[in-house]
Amino acid sequence: MADLATAPKNASRLVPLPGRRPRTVTGRNLQVGVALVIIAVVVLSSVFAPLVAPHDPLLSDPASKYLPPGSPGHLLGTDDQGRDLLSRIIWGGRTSLLIAVVAVAFSTVVGSALAIVAGFAGPLLSGLIMRTVDVMFAFPVIIVAVALAALFAPGPSVVILAIAFAVIPYVSRVVFAEVKQQKGQDYVEAAVSLGAGHASILFREVLPNVTTQIIVYATSLVGGMVVFASSLSAVGIGVQPPTADWGQMIATGARVVISGNLYVALFPGLMVLIVALAFNWLGDGLRDVLDVRQRSGAPSRRKTGDAGADGRDTPVGAAGPDGHADASGPAEEVPR
């Protein structure tokens, strides 16, 4: 302490500036730890819902409608049909998480496949795929969701396909950039000079080197898709009542908000928020721990001669000076 006090004035420059403190490994670990605990609790309680849930999520009991949180036997209270909210949230986690994970896994596989094909194909096919992705990108997903709901009946499959439409462009942009970058590496050149064919380069050289990035990216997407799926179910084109699902529960709660029963909608919404944040933190943490540098999948409208002189591009890809781009990749640009 004395040392600090007697230190010359300009020595303060050696002390990290406030706010500049690099996020320490322990800080990151704490964040990842908290995220993992939250995700573990939610996933386990969803998997073992029949054992964990105190009540049947579909069992309505007209005698105990609108019990406030903390009522005996109903920790979080009951909804408009007297169904136990805690049980419905636990069972709802099953539906909500399953939809998000399946949707993201599906889109990741399809998006990666598209990107890898585009990365290895000739300019014509490559251009066709990436232009198609450009068009899908930023197209209002709700239109696609409505069309799907009209084609098939509203349900989980509509949500999964709508999410796929929203997410595939992002995944394929990220993977495409990654594949392109890997293809320029010396080790690929070495493999080519050794006479390796396309398939061999793809499966033995490039793919193993991009899987980590793909998995990290996919993880960071799950949270956002839990949120998006809940909105789709809430407006009635996703999971249908009486199935317990967080989005469905929010919609049910929305109908009784006016009569003063706020918590029916509040709890499932909070669950969505918490789980989404946890997946975000996990994604961020994994990115740091595995030291994955994500090339931005952010769109540029037009190819420009020199990106450097292009005022538009500079902020887009730029990381903050502290090395942590808070516009942390396209993960957070997917619509909710």
Partner: protein, 317 residues
């Protein structure tokens, strides 16, 4: 390359997309399981009469002919007749479309105003607790479900504080422009939420980048007041990318608007579309999808033109 030529080129590129959307919209009506005519009229008419009804709707023609009949319907006859309501589709969608446009505009305003403000606050106070606090809020906000956020806004500002109306677009006895604005505040905020936070991140990163540039340091060392620098140099330099991001966010915004319409009972196209999905009213779904997609493409084009005019350097490309 002249401006006109470039815009013409983009217009030309829009056409195949629009054509594709129209084919998809058309197919919705054809591929769906079940016969809407039978569902609607089977209990009242004989098989022969049903065939007649099909003929009036043009449902007895081969598929590609049906497509062109449908296109002509959309272009000339107001999008065909709603199966449920029995009136031309665009007569139903028209007034709702205007309402949706109002809400979308509100969303854009909320997105730009709050997005810029949040981003600028975080960027200017970078490396202080203000930046970190703002960014934490941004992170939480980015993970909110728009539907739920709208609901929370209603609970806080309409039910608890009673500052603003609960939903709908107008008070029961009408109330003019001020009344509309009061009804518009909360839905706009909710609809613009995700987009404004995306914009805020870009503005923040943009400011941090600009402040680190040599020209900024030079100007600052010459004693030019900070606010002047932010306004004249930083602002001018990040404006094109801000406009670009806002344009790209229109798709997200439209999705948000439709979620919000559902929460706030806004009498817009989203509400109409969701009702049509439940009622299997295919002409309305088809018309609505085509309408929204076309609008989205037009807005996209307008953004491009705006970005062009804000950043002359792009014109060489």
């Amino acid at each position: 390359m002249g401006t006109v030529k470039r815009i013409g080129w983009r217009l030309l590129l829009m056409l195949p997309i629009l054509a594709l959307v129209s084919v998809l919209a058309f197919l919705i009506g054809v591929l769906t399981p079940g016969d809407p005519i039978e569902a609607q009229y089977a209990n009242r008419f004989t098989a022969e009469q049903l065939d007649q009804i099909r003929a009036t709707y043009g449902l007895d023609l081969p598929l590609w002919q049906q497509y062109f009949v449908w296109l002509k319907n959309v272009a000339v006859d107001g999008g065909g007749i709603s199966i449920v309501l029995g009136v031309p589709v665009f007569d139903i969608l028209g007034p709702n479309f205007l309402n949706t446009l109002i809400l979308t505009l509100g969303g854009v305003v909320a997105c730009v105003v709050f997005g810029m403000a949040i981003g600028a606050t975080a960027g200017i106070f970078h490396r202080t607790w203000i930046d970190r606090a703002v960014m934490l809020i941004v992170q939480i906000g980015s993970n909110l479900s728009i539907y739920w956020f709208g609901l929370v806004l209603i609970i806080v500002f309409s039910l608890q504080l009673q500052w603003l109306p609960v939903g709908g677009m107008q008070s029961r006895n009408g109330g003019g422009f001020a009344d509309l604005l009061a009804h518009l505040v909360l839905p706009s905020l909710a609809a613009g939420l995700i987009s404004m936070l995306v914009l805020a991140r870009f503005v923040r990163i943009g400011i941090i980048h600009e402040v680190g540039t040599e020209h900024f340091k030079t100007f600052a060392s010459q004693g030019i007041p900070r606010w002047k620098l932010y306004g004249k140099h930083v602002g001018r330099n990040i404006l094109p990318s801000a406009v670009n991001i806002t344009g790209l966010e229109i798709g997200t915004l439209i999705t948000g608007v439709i979620f919000v319409e559902s929460v706030f009972n806004w009498p817009g196209i989203g509400t109409q579309l969701l009702n049509a999905v439940n009622g299997k009213d295919y002409p309305v779904i088809q018309g609505g999808i085509l309408l929204v997609a076309a609008c989205y493409l037009v807005v996209n084009l307008l953004t491009d033109i705006t970005v062009d005019s804000l950043n002359p350097r792009l014109r060489r490309a």
